[in-house]
């Protein structure tokens, strides 16, 4: 009896599931301490994302041909896509912020996609990384709102279309939802990336058991396909929410 339970315990310990271990931040060049200047796997893969963005856009704008080649048409598609998004959601005035939004979109898309390369690191699954992006957007939007509209930006919280007794209640709700924005903005991206990678790791853990491994490999393949879609869709959602927040800052009375 005891032998049987021991064996069962041993078998279950062989099935090692550590889905969150892949998100550990490690210094790359020895040492255990992490300072602000230490090159870790996070900083490396963020740098790779920046370099990829840079290379794609430089390659795309290199020829400036009237009839675009392959690289240039990719660049034009991305440019047109983000520009249309900014104009549709936030209006023509928001085009002043188009470079920032395009940079955000390209960085997030590349960071998400690069994290799908096996043995790479999912930088956008860290709340610290997406948090900085979201706080930057939040501060930009708040400052722009106050600079463009002055104190009438506070009209965003005073819903004039609602009946008067309801307005203070709505103001509190609007205020809370305004300050929750950077949280939801960052956690949405990080949570989606983290959940996707953790699920793939869990299925990879199941692959150790022989009879279940074909199923597990099929599941990983399917999840990988889903994750490619999620990587792009989440970058799109991150960018479009930036546009929505920007619209609120530019036109607070709609």
């Amino acid at each position: 009896m005891t032998v049987a339970t021991d064996q069962a315990a041993e078998a279950s310990s062989k099935l090692s599931l550590h889905p969150m271990e892949q998100f550990t931040v490690r210094p790359l060049f020895g040492g255990t301490e992490i300072h602000w200047y230490t090159i870790t796997n996070v900083t490396l893969w963020m740098a790779v994302a920046v370099v990829c963005t840079f290379l794609l856009l430089v390659y795309a704008t290199r020829a400036r041909a009237l009839v675009p080649g392959r690289g240039q048409s990719i660049g034009e598609v991305v440019y047109g896509f983000v520009r249309n998004m900014v104009v549709d959601v936030a209006g023509e005035e928001a085009l002043a912020f188009f470079p920032y939004i395009l940079t955000l979109f390209m960085f997030v898309v590349f960071a998400n996609s690069l994290s799908l390369i096996p043995m790479s690191f999912a930088t956008t699954s860290h709340f610290a990384v997406t948090g900085v992006l979201a706080i930057a957007v939040f501060l930009t939007v708040t400052i722009v709102g106050f600079v463009k509209n002055g104190t009438s930006f506070l009209g965003l919280f005073w819903v004039t279309s609602a009946p008067l007794p309801l307005r203070p209640v709505l103001a509190i709700i609007e205020l809370i939802s305004y300050f929750v924005r950077p949280v939801s903005h960052s956690v949405r991206l990080a949570g989606n990336m983290m959940a996707g990678h953790a699920v793939m790791e869990v299925f990879a853990g199941f692959a150790i058991v022989l009879w279940i491994s074909p199923l597990s490999i099929a599941a990983i393949t399917a999840m990988y396909g889903l994750e490619i879609m999620v990587a792009v869709v989440q970058a799109y959602v991150f960018t479009i929410l930036t546009c929505v927040y920007l619209k609120d800052a530019l036109h607070p009375h709609h």
């Binding site: 549709d88 959601v89 956690v187 949405r188 869709v233 959602v237 929410l241």
Partner: protein, 79 residues
């Protein structure tokens, strides 16, 4: 000792209850997408212009599910 065990138990139960929130957000997201599809099939010519609205709606519905996911994560790893 028993108090510590009870606290650990409560942590895991709370994280599991947080999972219900994620499921509810899934219902919400399905609602948004389903209604979009229902509208899009009635008037397919107007559908293409509304994809941005669709994604904004999905993102807002998803946000609250993500909060419950965050609560579950905090319970598991931070508390």
């Amino acid at each position: 000792m028993e108090l510590i065990a009870a606290a650990a138990l409560g942590k895991f139960i709370g994280a599991g209850l947080g999972g219900i929130g994620s499921g509810m957000a899934a219902i919400g997201v399905g609602n948004v997408a389903g209604n979009f599809l229902a509208g899009a099939l009635r008037n397919p010519s107007a559908a293409a212009g509304q994809t941005a609205t669709l994604f904004i709606g999905i993102a807002f519905a998803e946000a609250l599910g993500i909060f419950s996911f965050l609560v579950a994560l905090l319970l598991m790893f931070a508390v």
